[in-house]
């Protein structure tokens, strides 16, 4: 019997997170502590995972340095570490931003917090796997945690409905994905991505149909996770129905995991078939952008609006994906800055319309600038960032993927994307108009928790800082991979 090579160092951060999740559940059963104690455990787990990740980064000397321990299941490289950093940041921000929800959940807070950590672990494995089965496992761990989180306020029917919808459609997408995996296995005889690449490099397929169908299904399955058109229909309902306190994390985590897996699969296993998949991805990108912004424009609920804008953003990121591995820097920069804005946005939605509630009418934001200048300011920066106004990180992000796509010869896609960005301005301006230019109703002032406040300060600073001086983050992303 052959034992695969074991490298604890490669999965140490995930172990820390799992340990944190387990500890939360145990401590909760044994001592029934205050929610704050559980929050402390989350913080401890996230920080130690982050520290371990820094250690990993330093151990990997060069950008291209990659080992595949556990029998070629796990990729120990800088991309994995980078993805985990983003995920940890999003998890920490999500918990801080939705803290009021966790306090209100009472006895169920432990479950919710443990699920956040487990979802992080799942998506982190999606990013660091280099084997299709392992990617699927990560996807399922992450997704199932999210299904439960969506329904965590189970006494509310909207929350149940959202969870059910998410679960049914999500399982369907997982099934499509795994079927696609099976077909790529049928086409290449391998499941490890590097093995598939080696096979494709060594052989010329005379009948690639099976492999192409498999690849298409893989794209469909992950397209669901990142909510790209036409697999986006769940997003608005789930974003609206799930408790506001966790939606930000849910949306961001799924996007990061989905794109990490998608780019890993396409760039590692199938670079030789770029011509085949890039036009399909480009079509999905264009439709996602167009449909996302147009539908976002007509929403009267801020959460549905953010959901549709998330669809458009998936399209923008796919605009980078079509360019292939050279766009990796841009894609990760985009993911990092967008998810930060997204989580910040939902933290504000939670603070304004209630962390457990399900509706977030635009009207609730009327006159927020006078009721709570801080929240209005933070939301404005996040929205301008999502809109991609210069001097925010969102502009640099969009610019990066546009340049990549143009260089790859997808000029038409860039033109579609820039024009759609203008419509997207309208989407975000609507909210800003309501916050700054309408008289407040008799709504009580919205007061964010201290944790949410600090989180929003951090998100605002990051959005502006990386808009003015993007070089450090771009360098970090650039050092994470080699073409």
């Amino acid at each position: 019997m052959i034992f695969p090579e074991v490298s604890w160092a490669a999965i140490a951060p995930e172990i820390a997170l799992v340990a944190g999740a387990v500890a939360i559940l145990m401590v909760d059963v044994q001592w029934k502590p205050h929610t704050r104690v559980l929050g402390g455990i989350v913080a401890l787990a996230v920080v130690s995972a982050a520290v371990l990740s820094v250690g990993q980064w330093l151990r990997l000397d060069t950008p291209g340095d990659i080992t595949t321990p556990f029998g070629g299941m796990i990729a120990f490289d800088r991309i994995s570490v980078l993805a985990r950093f983003v995920l940890l940041a999003v998890a920490a921000m999500g918990v801080a931003g939705g803290w009021r929800l966790f306090e209100r959940l009472g006895r169920r807070a432990a479950e919710a917090l443990a699920l956040v950590l487990l979802a992080t672990v799942g998506f982190s494995f999606m990013a660091s796997s280099i084997h299709l089965v392992m990617i699927f496992l990560g996807l399922e761990v992450g997704s199932i945690s999210l299904y439960v989180l969506a329904g965590i306020t189970r006494e509310r029917t909207e929350s149940d409905e959202a969870a059910m919808k998410y679960f049914l459609l999500g399982s369907f997408a997982s099934a499509v994905f795994i079927y696609g995996v099976a077909l790529t296995f049928a086409g290449t005889g391998r499941l490890a991505l590097l093995g598939q690449r080696a096979f494709l490099d060594a052989n010329i397929l005379t009948r690639p149909a099976v492999l192409l169908i498999g690849l298409a299904l893989v794209i469909v399955g992950l397209g669901f996770k990142v909510s790209a058109v036409p697999f986006h229909t769940w997003a608005p309902d789930v974003y609206q129905g799930a408790p506001a306190g966790v939606v930000g994390f849910m949306a961001a985590g799924a996007k990061i995991g989905g794109f990490a897996a998608l780019t890993r699969i396409l760039f590692t296993a199938f670079p030789s078939m770029t011509d085949e998949w890039s036009s399909v991805v480009a079509a999905i990108a264009a439709v996602s952008i167009a449909v996302g912004v147009v539908l976002a424009l007509v929403q009267d609920d801020v959460r549905r609006m953010l959901a549709y804008s998330g669809v458009a953003h998936a399209g923008f990121i796919l605009t980078g994906v079509v360019a292939g591995a050279t766009a990796t820097t841009g894609i990760w920069f985009y993911l990092a800055v967008y998810t930060v804005q997204l989580v910040a946005g939902f933290a504000i939605v939670a603070a304004v319309t209630g962390s457990a509630g399900s509706r977030s009418d635009l009207g609730a934001f009327a006159g927020l600038a006078t009721r709570s200048p801080f929240l209005a300011g933070a939301f404005t920066v996040a929205l301008l960032g999502m809109a991609g106004i210069p001097l925010t990180s969102g502009f640099v992000a969009k610019f990066g993927v546009f340049v990549s796509a143009w260089q790859a010869g997808f000029e038409w896609l860039v033109i579609v994307a820039v024009l759609a960005s203008v419509i997207a301005f309208g989407v975000y301006l609507r909210v800003i108009v309501v916050m700054y230019m309408r008289e407040p109703g008799d709504d009580a002032p919205a007061i964010p928790t201290v944790a949410a406040r600090w989180m929003l300060v951090a998100a605002t600073v990051v959005t502006i800082l990386f808009g003015v001086l993007p070089q450090p983050l771009l360098d970090l992303a650039r050092n994470a991979f080699s073409v």
């Binding site: 820039v418 309208g426 230019m437």
Partner: protein
């Protein structure tokens, strides 16, 4: 130095934002004080500027993001110098004119200062990425200024303004990316630096596409007919300070962009497309003037007069003669001064009467003689009375364009007459006759503060009207360099009288 010009308003905005909430009375003085520093800096720039040099001066550069060839490069030449001074002068004046802003004053001052920083940035940027950043970032403060402190339909106007201008700049962004990629294909590394992109070898077809993308962005900003519909809305709804800066400086981004980028980066396309732009410019001149005549609203009248005046600048620019280009640049400054002043005047009467309808006034000259005097002066400057600044600009444009586009020049000349009609007719209805309406009989004439606001503009108008050489000498080398470049890179040769005009200007100038 140029970096300081951009940074000081930003720092000033931060200072204003951090003023204690209760001390609202400090906000405006601090804001004005901050905005006076750039006036000094711009003055120093103006006098230290090496006259007779065509290239960029006061250059500064730093790498920003190297892998993509994005850099921070700033510099000034004869074309941007005057616009910097204009911006620096108009900001403190428009701030000081904003005493009637009674709510959220602090935010207002912050947005104005950020706007100022963005405007300086646009005019000095020598990297297309940097230029685009400022070009687009300007929209945000202006959007808030119109949307929060504007008139009744302010939100409609603000959103229209934002989206209209954003459509144009979106395609320009694509074109900028295309240029950088072409640079990467030709030299191996991408670059957004203006100087690098000038060296590119672009086929006529590529030039036309890129010209169209840049041109659309600038044409919307100018605004060139038929893309002007955002302008009356934005102007009418904006608060006085907003209108002054919008008309005075923001519109010039379009004409400046044409001159700086379209003519130099895409010379062949420029030569090929002259007719299109000239036709649109002339339509704008005549149409803007005709619509201005029938406006019942004083502010709208001034707004439409901008469409007409900006048409002259575009016509001059695409005349591709020395006179046309120089006249265009001078006219940018002139229009900023006179229209800025007219908007200030309209704002002052609005504060007193809370109406801008021409029909609501009459006989004001008897009640407010000083006000009437200033209004008449500015109207004459705007019409182009010899001795005042407007004359020099329009005359140069017409002489310059007659050399290459005689038919257009002749039609455009009617715009001057129409300008006299709408402004003088408006003057007649507002100021002459008997003040028969009781509300008008008790109006107070201009205060010392208001006169002090207008005085610097009057001085500048007289200086430019009587001795335009002070500016023309600095402008001419830069515009000549553009013409040289067009002649070198295309088959187009400026016909003889076109290049002669500069001799005549350099010697005579002010008549």
């Amino acid at each position: 130095m140029l970096t300081w010009l951009i940074l000081i308003p930003v720092l000033g905005a931060a200072v204003v934002a951090l003023l204690p909430r209760r001390r609202t009375e400090l906000v405006l003085p601090v804001g004005i004080a901050v905005s006076l520093i750039p006036v000094g800096l711009a003055g120093v720039l103006f006098f230290q500027f090496e006259t007779g040099e065509a290239g960029f001066q006061f250059l500064q550069q730093a790498t920003w993001y190297e892998p993509l060839g994005i850099s921070y490069r700033v510099g000034v030449d004869g074309i941007s110098l005057g616009l910097l001074v204009l911006t620096a002068v108009l900001v403190p004046i428009s701030l000081a004119a904003s005493t009637s802003i009674d709510r959220r004053l602090k935010e207002f001052v912050v947005y104005i200062l950020l706007l100022e920083a963005g405007l300086f940035g646009v005019f000095v940027a020598l990297d297309l990425f940097l230029f685009f950043v400022f070009f687009e970032a300007i929209l945000v403060p202006m959007y808030f200024i119109i949307g929060i402190w504007g008139g009744e339909r302010r939100i409609y106007a603000a959103v229209k303004f934002f989206l209209y201008t954003a459509v144009g700049s979106a395609l320009m962004l694509a074109a900028i990316i295309a240029l950088a990629v072409i640079h990467a294909n030709q030299t191996g590394v991408p670059s957004f630096a203006f100087a690098d992109l000038l060296a590119l070898d672009l086929s006529p077809t590529v030039q036309r596409w890129l010209f169209a993308a840049f041109g659309l962005a600038f044409a919307i900003k100018v605004p060139v007919f038929p893309l002007h519909t955002w302008l009356p809305d934005a102007h009418v709804e904006a608060p006085t300070a907003g209108s002054v800066l919008l008309a005075g400086v923001l519109l010039k981004l379009g004409t400046y962009g044409f001159l700086r980028f379209n003519l130099t980066l895409f010379p062949q396309a420029t030569v090929d497309l002259v007719t299109v732009l000239a036709v649109l410019a002339v339509i704008g001149i005549i149409y803007g003037a005709l619509v201005a005549i029938v406006q019942p609203d004083l502010k709208k009248l001034v707004a439409y007069s901008s469409v007409s005046h900006l048409g002259f600048i575009v016509l001059g620019t695409f005349a591709l003669t020395s006179g046309g280009l120089q006249g265009g640049v001078i006219q940018m400054i002139n229009h900023g001064l006179t229209t800025g002043a007219l908007f200030l005047l309209v704002g002052m009467i609005y504060e007193r009467r809370h109406t801008k309808k021409i029909a609501d006034f009459g006989g004001l000259a008897k009640v407010m003689p000083v006000y009437a005097g200033f209004f008449l002066f500015m109207a004459f400057a705007s019409i182009g009375l010899p001795g005042l600044n407007g004359f020099i600009g329009e005359f140069l444009v017409l002489v310059g364009s007659f050399a290459t586009l005689p038919v257009y020049a002749i039609i455009a000349a009617f715009g001057v007459i129409l300008a006299a009609i709408y402004l003088l007719w408006a003057y007649e209805r507002v100021f002459t006759g008997v003040p028969d309406k009781p509300e008008n009989q008790r109006l107070v004439d201009l205060s010392g503060r208001e006169i002090a606001l207008l005085a610097p503009l009057v001085v500048l108008i007289l200086v430019l009207g009587l001795y335009p050489k002070v500016l023309l000498d600095k402008v001419a080398p830069s515009t000549e360099a553009i013409l040289d470049r067009i002649e070198q890179t295309t088959d187009f040769q400026v016909p003889e009288p076109g290049r002669l005009a500069d001799v005549f200007v350099a010697e005579g100038g002010g008549e």
